[in-house]
């Protein structure tokens, strides 16, 4: 039987929405193709009482089996959520070991900061094809695999006789439903030397503005700190909501319903002006327009 592996990310012991979306699409494909669906969850330690509700979530969203990759020795001081540092150096080799034991036809992960770090090297290690910000679709009983959009899209052709590793952007697919119960396996990472020492953190002053852009290009420029908006009216759409809001990395691109381009992940419906006002009101912070 073919295997599909989904790498699941947690935030404060809850599954990230993008991981549930990836799992949902994987569930639909696994059902159509008769494959087994494994949710692999990198976690700092085995969940204690009250921390394990994410396992129920994964069961209810379609996982056939949950594999917990625990790294008890890697818990860093002052880092309450170890999976925030999901990257190749933390869990990559262990994930490849799981993939060796359960050779997947698809290995899918959300296109988060961690997923983007992990997936290409896993693909290299497995000798797999790699798709970034992918579409994993069914055409009849065959897979249709793409990355990109429209004329700039690129796809894999023919019968796939090799594994495919792909990152999936947030918001692309709906979550799915599954059973109430799921088999759980605990895999303890072997002791491994740290590749990088984590020195700590500092405030990301440049990245703390939440920005609504007229287009993906202007939004990306603003998110990268070069908030020079192009085009008529664009400066009025670039709204900084203050340093207390939080950080919006460029992995998630936000636009406005009527003007959002194809590479925007989330958008707010309605007119541009209304959306801007609503966003300010929702976040409840005095906004400062940038020019």
């Amino acid at each position: 039987m073919a295997n599909i592996i989904c790498v699941v990310e947690l935030h404060h012991h809850r599954v990230l929405p993008v991981s549930l979306e990836v799992l949902g699409q994987a569930r639909r494909i696994a059902t159509a193709l008769g494959a087994s669906l494994y949710a692999v969850v990198p976690v700092a330690h085995a969940p204690k009482a009250g921390e394990d509700t994410f396992i129920d979530d994964l069961a209810q969203h379609g996982a056939d089996k949950v594999i917990l990759l625990t790294d008890e020795g890697a818990q860093a001081d002052g880092q309450p959520d170890r999976t925030d540092t999901l990257r190749w150096g933390s869990y990559g080799p262990a994930l490849c070991a799981v993939a060796d034991a359960l050779p997947p036809m698809l290995l899918l992960v959300g296109a988060t900061l961690g997923g983007r770090d992990l997936a290409p090297r896993v693909a290299a290690r497995l000798g797999a094809a790699y798709l970034s910000e992918a579409w994993i679709e069914l055409e009849g009983s065959a897979l249709s695999l793409w990355e990109g959009s429209g004329d700039a899209a690129r796809g894999l052709d023919g019968d796939l006789e090799f594994p495919v590793v792909a990152t999936i952007p947030p918001g692309r697919y709906a979550a799915s439903k599954g059973d109430e119960e799921v088999e759980v396996e605990l895999v303890q990472l072997p002791a491994h030397p740290a590749d990088f020492e984590e020195l700590g953190w500092e405030a990301d002053a440049a990245g703390r503005a939440m920005v609504v852009g007229e287009s993906a290009a202007s939004l990306a420029a603003a998110l990268h700190g070069t908030a020079t908006m192009q085009g008529a009216g664009a400066p009025a759409l670039c709204v900084s909501l203050g340093p207390s809001i939080g950080h919006l990395p460029s992995e998630v691109r936000v636009g406005l319903g009527d003007g959002a381009g194809g590479d925007v992940h989330y958008a707010v419906a309605g007119s541009i002006v209304d959306a801007e006002a609503a966003l300010r009101q929702a976040i409840g912070t005095s906004a400062k327009e940038q020019s």
Binding site: P17, G89, L113, R116, A153, A203, V268
Partner: protein, 240 residues
């Protein structure tokens, strides 16, 4: 300490001054022999690179990320020898997919770090800042080279271009080392094996209709905010 910059195109030129800030910098590119590409390499010299190597074979245009990674890793070994002495930092750009840098690292069995925002040196270690997924922070990572760092946010750095006269001067004075696959011990047939793993363009695929991205639309900004909070990207307190 020294640096090697993987230059895939003009967009990667901002990597060169990052490399120069670390030490003597070599540029390695997989680009055909065209005036445009020679200009890019000349610009790299103008930014401080002391050595430019250009490797090309037509089979590179049809291989996948792994074929490119194999080739670059072989070229790095030939160009740099022992990556530990002197310690070498390999810098790659993102180019949207971010696949080649990690692949080179895997082939060379080096640690890699993606989405790096800035690089500095502390004693004999390289300190890389990397944006965290959540909570508005930048995390700091340190290690002794060799390593591969994939730099994000290249748009923040605006390197000056050399004039065509300056470029010609650089080329005449220093020249670019032009290598073939044979120079790094790889055959075109090895790369051809990976051809079927490479995603093809819409034109190459002929009669297949590509998907078109659509954002997920939220009815209100408040609903968007709930989602961003669930993503862990926005403070659950809503910034109040």
């Amino acid at each position: 300490m020294r640096a090697l910059v993987l230059l895939a195109g003009r967009e990667d030129l901002p990597l060169v001054p990052v490399g120069v800030s670390l030490g003597e910098t070599t540029v390695l590119s997989l680009l055909p022999d065209t005036p445009e590409h020679e200009q890019i390499l000349a610009d790299a010299r103008g930014l401080g690179a002391v050595r430019c190597v250009r490797l090309w074979d037509d089979s590179l245009s049809t291989t996948d990320f792994l074929g490119l990674g194999y080739t670059l890793a072989a070229a790095i070994k030939k160009a740099m020898g022992d990556l530990s002495e002197p310690p070498t930092v390999i810098l790659s750009g993102d180019r949207g997919r971010g696949a080649v840098g990690p692949t080179v690292a895997d082939r060379l069995q080096l640690p890699h770090l993606g989405d790096v925002l800035s690089v500095s040196v502390l004693d004999d270690r390289v300190v890389a800042k990397r944006r965290a997924q959540r909570e508005g922070v930048v995390r700091l990572y340190a290690a002794k080279p060799p390593m591969v760092l994939q730099i994000r946010a290249l748009a923040e750095i605006k390197p000056a271009q050399t004039s065509s006269d300056e470029a010609a001067g650089w080329m005449e004075a220093l020249g670019t080392e032009a290598w073939t696959l044979a120079d790094v011990g790889i055959t075109p047939s090895e790369l051809a094996y990976r051809r079927r793993f490479r995603p093809r363009t819409v034109a190459e695929l002929g009669n297949r209709t590509p998907p078109i991205s659509r954002p997920r639309i939220f009815a209100s900004a408040a609903e968007l905010l709930v989602r961003l909070q669930a993503d862990g990207l926005v403070d659950p307190a809503g910034g109040k």
